[in-house]
C-alpha cells in the first residue's frame, strides 16, 4: 500500500506568527466552548475535505457522511491539536483515516481508491487545482450549476480593475502573502488588504444570486 503524503509543513515559528495562527485561535475558542468558532473552521475547509474524500471513495452518497464524521472526530480530538502543524494538515490526516475506515467497513479495497487518489493530483497546498472527476450522483442540473458558478467567477474576475485583479490573483492563485504582494505591486500592505477585499466583494456580488438558487443542494 502506498502512503498518502500529508500536506507540507510550514517552517517552525511561534504560533502567533504562523500563517495558521488564525486557525489555531479558532481552535482555542472552540475548546473554550465557542462552537461557532468551530463552524468557521468547517466553512473554511469543508469543500477541500469533501474533494479529498471524493477522490478516495468516489461515491457521492458517502462523501458527505465521511466528511461529517471527519469533522466530528476532529471536534472530539480538538484539545489534542497544539498548533505544531497547520490545522489543515491535522484535519487532512483525520479525513484520510476516516475514509480508509469507511472503506474497510464497506469491505472495499482502500488501496484502489488511494491509487486513484494519488494519480489525480495533490491537494496538499493552498494553490492546489482539483480536476473534474465523475461522481456517481452528478445530475445535468448540478453540473450546469457548477459550471455556471465557475463562469460567473471568471467573468467577474475579468471585469475587475487591473490592480484589484492582480492583487487577488497573486493572493488566491499564486498563494503570496500580503507582504510579498505589497512588494510585487509596490504599495503598502494596507492597500493590498483593501484591494483584495474589494475584489472579493465584487466577485461575491455576482455569485451570490446563483448560490441562492442552489441553497441546500449539492453543487
Amino acid at each position: 500500500m502506498t502512503a498518502i503524503l500529508p500536506p507540507s509543513e510550514p517552517p517552525d515559528a511561534a504560533p502567533a506568527e504562523r500563517p495558521g495562527a488564525a486557525d489555531f485561535l479558532l481552535v482555542q475558542r472552540t475548546v473554550a466552548g465557542d462552537q461557532k468558532a468551530f463552524e468557521l473552521l468547517v466553512i473554511k475547509y469543508q469543500r477541500r475535505i469533501e474533494r479529498l474524500i471524493g477522490r478516495m471513495v468516489r461515491d457521492v452518497d458517502l462523501v458527505e457522511d465521511i466528511a461529517q464524521e471527519t469533522f466530528i472526530r476532529a471536534y472530539r480530538a480538538l484539545h489534542q491539536f497544539r498548533g505544531d502543524a497547520q490545522f489543515y494538515t491535522w484535519l487532512y490526516r483525520i479525513a484520510v483515516n476516516t475514509a480508509k475506515k469507511a472503506l474497510v467497513d464497506m469491505k472495499r479495497d482502500p488501496t484502489v481508491s488511494e491509487a486513484a487518489f494519488r494519480s489525480t493530483g495533490d491537494d496538499d497546498d493552498e494553490t492546489y487545482r482539483p480536476r473534474n472527476e465523475p461522481i456517481s450522483d452528478e445530475t445535468p442540473e448540478s453540473i450546469l450549476a457548477a459550471s455556471e458558478i465557475a463562469a460567473v467567477v471568471n467573468a467577474a474576475m475579468e471585469a475587475l480593475p487591473a490592480e484589484l485583479r492582480q492583487a487577488v490573483t497573486l493572493r488566491e492563485i499564486e498563494g503570496m502573502s500580503y507582504e510579498e504582494i505589497a512588494e510585487v505591486m509596490q504599495c503598502p500592505i494596507g492597500t493590498v488588504r483593501s484591494r483584495i477585499f474589494r475584489a472579493r466583494e465584487a466577485i461575491s456580488a455576482k455569485v451570490k444570486p446563483l448560490l441562492e438558487n442552489q441553497s441546500g443542494k449539492r453543487w
Binding site: 484539545h79 482539483p130 453540473i143 457548477a146
Partner: protein, 228 residues
C-alpha cells in the same frame, strides 16, 4: 464588543475579516476580529462566500460539493450531542506544560487487576474473621466438647477396666466347654475354649455393642453363648 465595533467601521471590519480569511492577521488584531466574526452571522456569510470564491479561483472550475450551509446545519445537529472538547492543550506544549506541575494520575492499563486483588484480600480477611469468631464462640460454650472429652476418657478406661473387673480375682480360669454339632454325626462334640477369651468378648459386647450397627459380619465375629 461595542467598543470593538466602534474601533472599526463596517467596511474596515469586512476588510479585516478578509485578511483573517487569508491568515494575515496577528496578535491583538487577530483576536479582536475573530471575536467579532464569531458573533456576527452576517460576517459568517462573507466568510463563507470568500472561501468559495477563493476555491473556484484556485481550481479554475467549480467542483461539486455539499452546500456549505446545509453541511454546517447537519453538523451542528450532531455536535449538539457532543460534549465540549476537553480544555487541556489549548496552548502549545512548551507553554502549557510546566515542569513544576503535578503529574496527573493516569489509570494503568492493568488497573482492574489490582482491584480484584484488593477484593480477594478483603474476602480472605473476612473468612479468617468468621472462622476465628466461630472458634472463640465454641470455646466459650463448649458443652459438646466437654462431653466428648469425658466420653473419650471413659473409653480409654473402659476396655482394660471392664476386662480386669470381669476377670476373677483368683487368676486361674477354667476353660469353657461348648457343645457343637453339624448334624452329620450322631454324638455331640465338645469344644474347649479359653475362658479368658470368652470374658473379653462378653466385656466387649457390653461396652460397644449398643453403638455398633448390627451386621452379619460383626454378629459372626461376636461370641455366642453356649446356651444357644
Amino acid at each position: 464588543m461595542v467598543n470593538e465595533m466602534n474601533d472599526m467601521n463596517q467596511i474596515s471590519i469586512h476588510e479585516h475579516v478578509s485578511a483573517l480569511a487569508d491568515g494575515q492577521l496577528q496578535g491583538d488584531e487577530l483576536e479582536r476580529v475573530a471575536n467579532v466574526l464569531c458573533t456576527q452571522d452576517e460576517l459568517r456569510e462573507h466568510w463563507q462566500m470568500w472561501h468559495l470564491v477563493g476555491d473556484v479561483l484556485r481550481s479554475g472550475q467549480h467542483v461539486q460539493c455539499t452546500d456549505t450551509s446545509r453541511f454546517v446545519a447537519n453538523l451542528r445537529q450532531r455536535l449538539a450531542d457532543e460534549p465540549v472538547p476537553k480544555q487541556s492543550a489549548t496552548v502549545p506544549t512548551a507553554v502549557a506544560v510546566s515542569k513544576n506541575s503535578a503529574p496527573l494520575r493516569v489509570e494503568a492499563a492493568n488497573e482492574p487487576v489490582f482491584r480484584w486483588k484488593m477484593i480477594a484480600g478483603v474476602a480472605s480477611i473476612a473468612a479468617a474473621a468468621a472462622i476465628g469468631w466461630n472458634w472463640i464462640g465454641a470455646g466459650a460454650a463448649s458443652p459438646a466438647g466437654s462431653q466428648l472429652a469425658q466420653q473419650q476418657q471413659q473409653q480409654r478406661q473402659a476396655p482394660t477396666g471392664s476386662l480386669l473387673a470381669a476377670a476373677p480375682a483368683s487368676g486361674t480360669i477354667a476353660p469353657t466347654q461348648v457343645v457343637v454339632g453339624n448334624g452329620n454325626t450322631n454324638a455331640p462334640q465338645i469344644m474347649l475354649r479359653d475362658a479368658r477369651l470368652d470374658q473379653m468378648l462378653q466385656a466387649h459386647q457390653q461396652a460397644g455393642g449398643s453403638s455398633q450397627m448390627p451386621s452379619g459380619f460383626l454378629r459372626n465375629a461376636t461370641f455366642e453363648s453356649p446356651s444357644r
